[in-house]
Symmetry: C2
Subunit: 164 residues, 2 copies
């Protein structure tokens, strides 16, 4: 009998080692596969909460950013903001660098599906264990509230960084 | 005869529109194709010269960064630092964001070829017109001088940012 008991335990162990996908956000949005490999659109440093950020985009987003089609961003756009707490470079005190990883924040553009929140679906996964943010689907009102002052920029804080 | 005169002019115009590659650096290093599409390794904000930076890497660099093989980085690594002057977000004063593009800085790892400068070849292209930095090949001594204090980190300022 021992083999029949051991096999499920082994499968669980393999699943954990292979990296089980994080739980979806309370509004059903799932963490996009491969977002760490997306290309860069911008960066920011917030002094109100001492965080450094890098903004990535999926292929639709990057194509839009590079051709100035961001008011509005096209359907299919996904923006990803990687957020770290500020740290001081260990050997160059004048440089603020990424410290503890805080969260990855996402905006999914679908003008019809997310009509109630400016055409954007919001989701956030916190920490290295990528715990979805929000106790129920109403969490998006908090996101949308903060983004509403950016209505003239299609509810997006990021302006794509200029590159040659 | 007019066609014979017009054709070269047309070819020049096409070349300009297609984007002629920037001149190589004075040490012969060429701007890598497609560096804008490389994946992110880190970020920094320097308060001594008020610049925001995003550090990208080629495939060799990203694979090394994600598996902790950065002391030393493997041959074939290319690191790219995109540098912008600080700007204030137009609608969120607590955020510093990329303003004017300053330059793209590169480090090419080849322990043998670049033995005299810690195994790294240095190059920098300035501004949106991507003018190579340095009046002659000796410019790398300036680069290497600044990077020498980072000898214990394989002459690299960047520590890859932690990601889930």
């Amino acid at each position: 009998m021992r083999n029949y008991i051991a096999l499920p335990a082994l499968l669980v162990a393999v699943a954990v080692c292979a990296g089980t996908p994080p739980a979806p956000a309370p509004n059903g949005l799932e963490l996009p596969d491969g977002y760490r490999d997306w290309r860069v659109i911008g960066s920011s440093h917030r002094t109100d909460n001492d965080t450094l950020r890098v903004i990535l985009g999926n292929d639709t987003a990057v194509a839009a950013a590079r051709t100035g089609r961001t008011r509005p961003w096209p359907d299919g756009t996904i923006l990803c903001k990687l957020v770290w707490k500020d740290a001081v470079h260990p050997a160059w005190a004048q440089a603020t660098v990424p410290g503890e990883f805080v969260q990855a924040e996402f905006m999914f553009k679908d003008a019809d599906r997310f009509r109630a929140t400016g055409g954007w679906g919001f989701a956030r996964w916190k920490g290295l264990d990528q715990a979805p943010y929000g106790s129920d689907a109403g969490f998006v009102q908090e996101c949308f509230g903060c983004h509403t002052p950016m209505k003239d920029n299609d509810y997006v804080f990021t302006h794509p960084a200029v590159l040659p």
